[in-house]
């Protein structure tokens, strides 16, 4: 009898039978309780007010705004889809900020995932001082973006920056070497080594340009500890039994990694991929602080979609156009998220009980 009690199912709400009941159950219509009608809304009220004023209404306003021309002074004028048409046909800067934003995402996200994962694997091997390393790698995550970006603006500076100085040093010592001096070809090559203008240099062909790459490097430095810590938590949740079983089957270290660890942390990889991409598509503070001049103008090679929204809204006071850009951003982010959700079925492994 005791075992029967243990196996008895948990008491649940009565299961709906007809199709209509099923549908209403899904929609949460038929299962409400008379005494909780008023209460439910009372509990929701504080957040609902905020939600309506600062999320729902803004969505509508923003959409409407994107079909208007407005400089904040004269009354807004309805211009139909002209803002969107301008963006896609007459605005070469828009094309370049879209391209830059994709570059930011393409550089930051994979590098961060690979580095974060590798660091987590190493720190999970039971080395000494693992906690100390973890603390140091996570330190930039808690640092203010603005303050840290200012430091990198200094480090990457072409005139007084430490990185440029390092390159000059290396060049100087290479030129002093006998083996370099003995080869004229090598000598002319070493002579061409000069620190680039890390914060302003535009791209060329496929190369996105140092202005963008420097910001991407900073962003990876700032956030890699975060990715690492999330992976560490995921790695610690992988059951030891699976490794033992694979070892019994003769798997080597590489195969353990490839066929046990990577599939088992793939939900985490998916999660990191989604949030990092959302963040990278909306990059703003990093390029603004690292490379903007005092008028908050960025070198063309570093400008992102959000910096362009900011510039249109608050420097050129073209509110309608800025709103239109923000909806293009939404469309991109939405499409990428949908794509990831569809693709995840192919590579994300969910453990089923």
């Amino acid at each position: 009898m005791d075992s029967a009690r243990d196996l008895s199912p948990k008491v649940e709400a009565p299961q709906p039978s007809t199709l209509l009941q099923k549908l209403s159950f899904k929609l949460g219509i038929g299962v409400w309780r008379a005494d909780q009608q008023f209460e439910g809304y009372l509990f929701l009220l504080p957040s609902l007010i905020g939600f309506i004023i600062f999320v729902l209404a803004p969505i509508v306003i923003s959409l409407a705004l994107s079909f208007h021309q407005w400089d904040l002074i004269t009354p807004p004028v309805f211009i139909g889809p002209a803002n969107y048409i301008e963006l896609f046909t007459k605005d070469p800067i828009f094309g370049s900020v879209i391209k830059n934003t994709f570059w930011y995402t393409a550089l930051i996200v994979p590098v961060q995932i690979v580095l974060g994962f590798t660091l987590a694997i190493i720190l999970n091997m039971g080395l000494r001082w693992a906690k100390l390393y973890r603390m140091l790698y996570f330190m930039p995550v808690v640092a203010s973006v603005v303050a840290a970006a200012m430091v990198f603006r200094f480090l990457f500076n072409q005139q007084t920056g430490v990185i440029a100085a390092g390159i000059w040093e290396i060049k100087g010592s290479l030129l002093g070497q006998g083996w370099v001096q003995s080869s004229p070809q090598l000598l002319t090559w070493v002579n061409t080594i000069n620190p680039p203008d890390f914060l302003n240099a535009p791209g060329q062909g496929i190369w996105p340009g140092w202005a963008l790459v420097s910001v991407a490097i900073f962003t990876v430095w700032k956030n890699v500890g975060f990715t690492m810590v999330i992976y560490l938590a995921a790695l610690q949740a992988v059951p030891e039994v699976l490794y033992d079983a694979a070892k019994v089957d003769g798997a080597n270290r590489w195969r353990l990694l490839r066929f046990v660890t990577i599939p088992l942390v793939s939900p985490t990889t998916f999660f990191i991929l989604v949030i990092q991409m959302l963040g990278a598509f909306q990059i703003f503070t990093e390029p603004i602080i690292m490379s903007a001049n005092t008028q908050r103008q960025l070198p063309a090679a570093a400008a992102s979609i959000v910096t362009y929204i900011y510039q249109n809204a608050f420097s050129f006071t073209r509110m309608g156009k800025a709103a239109a850009i923000s909806w293009v951003l939404f469309a991109i982010v939405f499409a990428v998220t949908i794509l990831q959700t569809v693709l995840q079925r192919r590579w994300v492994y969910y453990e089923t009980d």
């Binding site: 309780r33 929701l44 001082w129 810590v229 909306q282 959000v306």
Partner: protein
């Protein structure tokens, strides 16, 4: 096996080359993570001529210009920025936890008409990137007469669909029997929320608090857009103003960065386990 023939061999000293290599990699990594901070402190103590002339730049300054700090700190009201940041981050955290916890309780444990439809609406809100909401929020705040005030800095961020979503997931995991037996004993929903749900969700609330506080403390875009006087600037915006004023006075910029960063890092050193856990749990919580 012939165990009787076993003779103890002299123990060979095994050098763990693999581990040494890993430590070297990790040390180089640590160096890269920490060096920018050291360089910031070092530059903040140099003279401006040293920064311009000294080649190669040295990590240890030849003269220690403590006066850089007083110059930097008196040129802009950093104490006010600090106060603003603390006030804003604390208020937003408390308010957001309160509104989110109440809403999450309603979504997770109460049954009322339209609950799922409303929750779906919140999820839609969650999918809209902030830049889309930025301009209308700016316009609404201006319309309300809140521009350049604490209200603008605190009220809009005090609501978060993300926090509601996260707490709802957590609350759904708590046994429903708690509520039922409390109800039989005559407890109201408010009482159940405060005396049962909130105490039982302390880890989630703490994690969310860390996440929200740090996020608000470091936020730049929103405070940049809704403030325009020194009295209302938060630390990140104040720092960026400072950057606008002293573009190439690196020693002053770095001194200001040190002032902005060091207290946060000190808190981090003492509460690192808690902070790391809070940040990773609240963003890694999936169900």
């Amino acid at each position: 096996m012939a165990t009787s023939t076993y003779k103890p061999r002299p123990q060979a000293i095994v050098i763990p080359w693999g581990r040494i290599a890993l430590h070297i990699i990790l040390l180089i990594g640590s160096f890269i993570m920490v060096l920018p901070f050291l360089w910031m402190v070092s530059t903040s103590l140099k003279t401006s001529t040293d920064i311009l002339r000294e080649f190669p730049p040295k990590l240890i300054p030849s003269t220690f210009m403590i006066s850089n700090y007083s110059t930097a700190l008196t040129s802009l009201p950093f104490d006010r920025f600090y106060f603003n940041s603390l006030l804003v981050a604390t208020s937003v955290t408390v308010l957001q936890l309160l509104t989110s916890s109440l809403a999450a309780y309603a979504f997770a444990r109460l049954r009322f008409k339209g609950r799922n439809a409303l929750f779906f609406l919140y999820l839609v809100g969650l999918m809209i990137p902030f830049p889309v909401l930025l301009l209308p929020n700016f316009l609404i705040v201006r319309q309300l007469g809140w521009f350049d005030s604490y209200l603008a800095l605190i009220v809009p961020p005090a609501f978060s669909a993300f926090s509601i979503f996260l707490l709802r997931q957590y609350y759904r995991g708590l046994p429903m029997d708690y509520d039922e037996s409390a109800r039989i004993d005559g407890a109201s929903s408010l009482r159940i929320w405060w005396s049962i749900i909130v105490p039982n969700s302390r880890p989630a609330l703490a994690a969310l608090a860390v996440f929200t506080f740090l996020g608000t403390w470091n936020d730049f875009l929103w405070p940049l857009v809704v403030t325009n006087s020194n009295n209302m600037r938060t630390l990140p915006v104040g720092l960026s103003m400072f950057q606008g004023q002293f573009t190439v006075r690196w020693e002053l910029l770095m001194a200001a960065s040190v002032v902005a960063l060091i207290p946060v890092l000190i808190v981090y050193f003492f509460a690192q386990n808690w902070i790391i856990k809070g940040l990773s749990v609240s963003s890694g919580l999936k169900g």
